[in-house]
């Protein structure tokens, strides 16, 4: 919960606990670790965390050095608090640094050992496909690249992600939408849709009109490019709406219309006087298209597209220059047939004449489709009901295709498609032992939904069917193959988009009066920078430490100008060096800086919280309600805010958290609410320095970077925690902590390569094993 952090004071529960501890200032005696544990607990912890007081609902009374495994639930908490330096609390005698180090090391070893001896992988819940997974799965299954999930209800999230099995509930609305969506997709894929003329509107990506558009010739401006799915071999109309004003003395502008990269018409797009007042004009062309996806592009030849249309506001009169407003695609007209689309090619592997029994061919087709859709080998039990649907559809529609359409709808609404059920019992209901290994088939799905947010491809599935996927060499090779596949950008969209809150960039609404220089092309550039950067780290297998300390980023001309980088020309994003600039790492990306601000100002508290929570894994407790007011001056000036927060920290109740939060946030104060660099705010010089509770000075973004690199153990464990949560689709529990530590150690041992992180997750206990506690008794 963000915003009320501005002035948060945190009630520290342990301060409420009795205060008779002043006599206990003695340090824990140094000795062997087991004794250190027991004496530390006795001397420092039990006064609050005993069976009677149970401060923060925690008692350590039952902990001894010989039952660490049994006490893992509480000891993992102890370990975390010790490592973060949060316990004993402020105002209590502190532990000696060497005591903490010794205890932490010993506890980790003991807890990891206990876990290795008796692993608890948790019990995965069945997971409904979320919207992203549904869209990708249909795309990979049928070769139809459309937003298939556009009608499905939005997915709820938990633990920071929207792929959490327990949270992905199913309402009647979902069922309605699954059915209508499956039927729409099936008609389109098989080609049984009835031709019905509709118009689709494509609007130009927001951005400055003088930027070249990727995919259009370099010399063209004010244009747009998009992919449209044409459902039939038929005629379609392309209507290009252009906006602009003829500059005196300039020749008529030339509008270039392209299909799949080839020019289909160069319009002499002259505006006459009457149209000048309107500033817009439509150019329409009717063309035959083959069914399937085609790329449509429209742009003005550069010499005619003067870059002076600044306002995107439709009310204002356009300046000189021309741009494409939007493009309408209408049709189909004169439909010739369903055509030879990718989906028909894939689906209709055999064909059956109308007067013959189509069942054998249908069974063949449905076996192929169901195997991919259900991510497992299928048997007659799976196929027979689909063949019944096929017969019904064939009878009703009068053609083989209508039968396939109906059966395909069945596949797409089947729980076997819509739910992932790792470790479901075998058909005979057997399962032995408390813990079992995931089958290769389940592993293939888990892997592909993890790295691709989609179903396994043929290579993965056939390896799994042959029982070879879990062979270590094979598995490693597959992981590397999957990471270098473009489909791994799902990790950027779905994992990083949520982990780093990047999904909020698209809807963020900075106050235009406060930040007049922010516009849609910057918003696009912010998003693109971080996406390209993360894709680079993933595909090129970079060190994950670059996430916090890269000396490079990706920028186009607009973003480079915004960042003050020289020598970047044009709309294309490229890798650029950040040497000699205050930036480096995602914390200094404008995307992150913006979504950790308020619409009208920065918030060191929000940014500090973001860093603690998402990079260091130490989320501060939420503030209590009804916090005392900050003085009004705090709202209006940087200095005022700093003063107010310093007062805040002077109070012991506040300081527990704010002493940790604020310096991390203040280090980023040189970036405003949309991430622009600044040295002063409203005439006051910005002071981007502060001291952490342990005395570490943090000054500016470089200082923050040093802190993050110094705390790389926490950073890597946090990244591992987040990525493991995402990979498993469940929240992590105390019994997962040994796995997180093991992942971190493997990443450290492999130069922090991203692939090592993924490999370690895939090899981890919770990823590869499953608990059977919830399963019905064995028969």
């Amino acid at each position: 919960m963000g915003p009320h952090f501005l002035s948060a004071i945190v009630l520290v529960p342990w301060l409420a606990c009795g205060a008779s501890l002043s006599a206990m200032a003695a340090q824990a005696p140094v000795g062997t670790s087991p004794r250190v544990l027991e004496s530390t607990i006795r001397q420092h912890c039990l006064v609050c965390h005993n069976d009677r007081t149970r401060t923060a609902d925690l008692s350590l009374a039952a902990v001894t050095s010989t039952n660490v495994g049994e006490q893992a639930l509480v000891l993992e908490k102890v370990l975390r608090k010790l490592r973060a330096g949060e316990m004993p609390p402020a105002g209590r005698p502190a532990l000696a640094t060497e005591t903490v180090t010794e205890l932490v090391g010993w506890l980790e070893t003991e807890l990891d050992g206990a876990s290795a001896a008796s692993p608890n992988p948790g019990t995965p819940a069945i997971q409904r496909l979320n919207r992203a997974e549904y869209t990708n799965a249909v795309h990979d299954l049928l070769g139809l690249n459309l937003d298939h999930a556009r009608d499905l209800p939005a997915d709820d999230s938990g633990y920071g992600f929207d792929n959490i099995g327990d949270v992905l509930t199913v309402s009647p609305l979902h069922i309605e939408k699954y059915i209508s969506t499956a039927r729409r997709i099936s008609r389109l894929a098989v080609g049984t849709a009835r031709p019905r003329a509709v118009v689709e509107k494509y609007e130009r990506s927001p951005g400055v009109p003088d930027a070249a558009v990727e995919g259009l010739p370099l010399g063209e401006r004010g244009g747009m490019l998009f992919e449209h799915y044409f459902p039939f071999d038929a005629d379609y109309t392309i209507t290009v709406r252009v906006r602009g004003r003829r500059q005196t003395g300039m020749p008529s502008p030339q509008l270039d219309l392209r299909v799949d990269g080839r020019r289909v018409r160069l319009f002499d797009a002259s505006f006459d006087n009457a149209e000048v007042t309107q500033g817009t004009r439509n150019f329409e062309l009717r063309l035959p298209f083959e069914a399937g996806a085609h790329v449509i592009g429209a742009g003005f030849l550069a010499e005619y597209a003067v870059a002076e249309i600044v306002s995107e506001n439709a009310d204002s009169r356009p300046g000189p220059g021309y741009l494409v407003d939007y493009v309408l695609v209408g049709g189909p007209f004169n439909t010739a047939g369903p055509g030879a689309t990718e989906s028909r090619r894939r689906l209709l592997e055999c064909h059956s004449a109308a007067d013959t029994d189509g069942t054998p061919c249908a069974s063949r087709i449905l076996t192929t489709v169901a195997r991919r859709a259900y991510r497992r080998p299928v048997t007659a039990i799976d196929i027979e009901p689909l063949v019944s649907l096929f017969r019904e559809g064939q009878t009703d529609g009068g053609s083989f295709e209508h039968g396939i359409e109906m059966a395909l709808s069945g596949v797409l609404v089947s729980p076997s498609f819509l739910f992932r059920a790792p470790g479901a019992l075998d058909e005979d209901g057997t399962r032995t032992g408390r813990v079992s290994r995931l089958t290769d088939i389940d592993l293939a799905s888990r892997l592909s939904f993890f790295l691709w947010s989609s179903i396994p491809d043929e290579a993965l599935l056939s390896l799994a069917e042959r029982g070879r996927l879990s062979e270590p060499d094979v598995l490693t090779a597959q992981i590397h193959r999957m990471l270098s596949d473009p489909k791994s950008s799902a990790l950027v969209d779905n994992f990083a988009g949520q982990w780093l809150h990047l999904r909020n960039v698209a809807e963020w609404a900075p106050d235009p009066e406060r930040y007049p220089h922010f516009d849609e092309s910057l918003r696009y550039a912010f998003q693109r920078e971080t996406e390209l950067f993360l894709e680079h780290v993933i595909r090129d297998d970079r060190s994950v430490l670059e996430l916090v300390a890269a000396d490079y980023t990706f920028a186009n001309e607009r973003l480079a100008a915004f960042y003050g980088l020289e020598g970047v020309r044009g709309g294309y994003f490229r890798r650029v060096s950040l040497d000699g600039t205050p930036r480096g790492g995602i914390v200094t990306h404008a995307s992150v800086l913006m979504v950790t601000s308020y619409p009208t100002r920065t918030s060191p508290v929000l940014r500090g919280k973001w860093v603690l929570e998402n990079l260091l894994g130490a989320p501060p407790p939420p503030p209590p309600p009804d916090v005392p007011a900050l003085p009004a001056a705090a709202e209006t000036s940087a200095g005022g805010l700093r003063d107010a927060l310093e007062q805040h920290r002077a109070s012991p109740t506040c300081s527990a958290c704010h002493a940790k939060l604020d310096p991390l946030g203040f280090a980023l104060e040189n970036f405003d609410g949309v991430g622009a660099y600044r040295t002063d705010e409203d005439g006051m010089t910005i002071d981007a320095s502060g001291a952490l509770p342990d005395g570490t000075l943090v000054s500016g973004p470089r200082g923050l970077q040093r802190v993050l690199l110094a705390r790389r153990v926490e950073f890597v464990e946090t990244l591992a925690d987040r990525l493991l949560t995402y990979a498993l689709g469940r929240g992590l529990e105390y019994y997962d902590r040994p796995a997180v530590r093991e992942i971190r150690r493997r990443v450290e041992a492999a130069d922090y390569r991203f692939s090592a992180l993924v490999e370690a997750i895939v090899d981890s206990v919770p990823f590869r094993l499953r608990g059977n506690s919830e399963l019905p008794p064995e028969r």
């Binding site: 959490i164 509709v198 609404v413 949520q498 979504v595 919830e774």
Partner: protein, 446 residues
Amino acid sequence: MITTGLALPRRTFLRGLGATVALPFLDAMTPAFATAATPVTRVAFIYTANGVIMQDWTPTAEGTGFLFPKTLAPVEPFRDRLLVMSGLAHRNGEALGDGPGDHARAGASWLTGVHPKKTQGADIRNGRSVDQMLADEIGQTTPLPSLELGLEDVRMVGGCDSGYSCAYSNTISWASPTTPLPYENNPRRVFERLFGDGETTDPAARAVHARQNRSLLDFVVDDAHRLQVRLGAGDRRKLGDYLDSVREVERRIQNAERQERVDLPPVDRPEGVPPTFEEHVRLMSDLVTIAFQADLTRVVSVMYSREGGNRTYRSIGVPDAHHGLSHHQNDPVRMAQLQKIDQHHVAMLAYFLGKLQDAPDEDGSLLDNAIVLYGSSLSDSNAHTHDNLPALIAGGGSGMLRGGRHLRYPEGTPMTNLFLTLLDRMGVQRGHVGDSTGQITHLGTL
């Protein structure tokens, strides 16, 4: 690249079909105008999140003849059809030992009166919401038992309350303690759900289509049963919820097939989500009104905003984010900004009430026969207080409600007592709703 589909020709989409063909959801349903001799009561629950500035909401005087405070001014024209209710509370929205998370608890408890289980995901549990209890009874003869709508896009991340899954903030309607009902925020999808997507218009084809949908549902049920026996207890329960939803849709299809086909008022098919909040609310209000008129549903819930939501309202001069502002720390400037939002939302309500008033119904207007509960589940968002909640009821409730009054109930009176009373007056017998302790008085009398 923004892609927006629109039908061709858009403006005459339905009219072009002779205005006689209705194309409801799944291409199978046909709406029918209410033909009952007795007026049908329609119920809407409209939620405004993040509390309100109570001093500008609560009338000073009680009973009749009170002055409308600033925030309520936009609905003053409906004075005779309004009951402002003070003193109601949701104790189950309070922490009760669960610590922070008041926003999530507020949204989740508004219509349930139940203390939601604190969890990020595992084991989500709330209560059944009162709109769904009503839908069980008065929603069984309409194509859709209820309709859940909202204005915010819920894709924002990192915005849900401390330790609570976003499921608790993303809806106020719960079909069961474990099944939150997601809302539609795209008017076009709402339209298509009510009137169909126009894929099939021929009655015979539509009948075939409906039968095929039933075949698909049968197939799903069989498939799910085969999967179910292979799952653990938790997963079986979850698949059970899935099957419940499948059966509910089966019932809706059967129900729809029994409906008579009748004329529909001319409706334009919306293009998508309008660019401004105001247009968006108005369009949703239009759709609700027409859904009521055509008797497509009798129960609606609408979320103008969701708890913790951070919409900015630049159109009324509020560039700051709503939730952030709601922690105003008694700063007069921020309180004034927040009050503007409160009043703006009430102005949106006034638009909806006006639509209902203009829609003729048995014995008067839709408003005469409607019950519209409007309010928030926090009063002072800054302090996260769950008592003395802002609540008003608009509409005549088919003669059940007597407006023009400000009623003050004893402090701490459960909001659920109001729900229990409304259910009872509508002939829905429930022993209790959430934490209700009994019925409240004075709804229809002095």
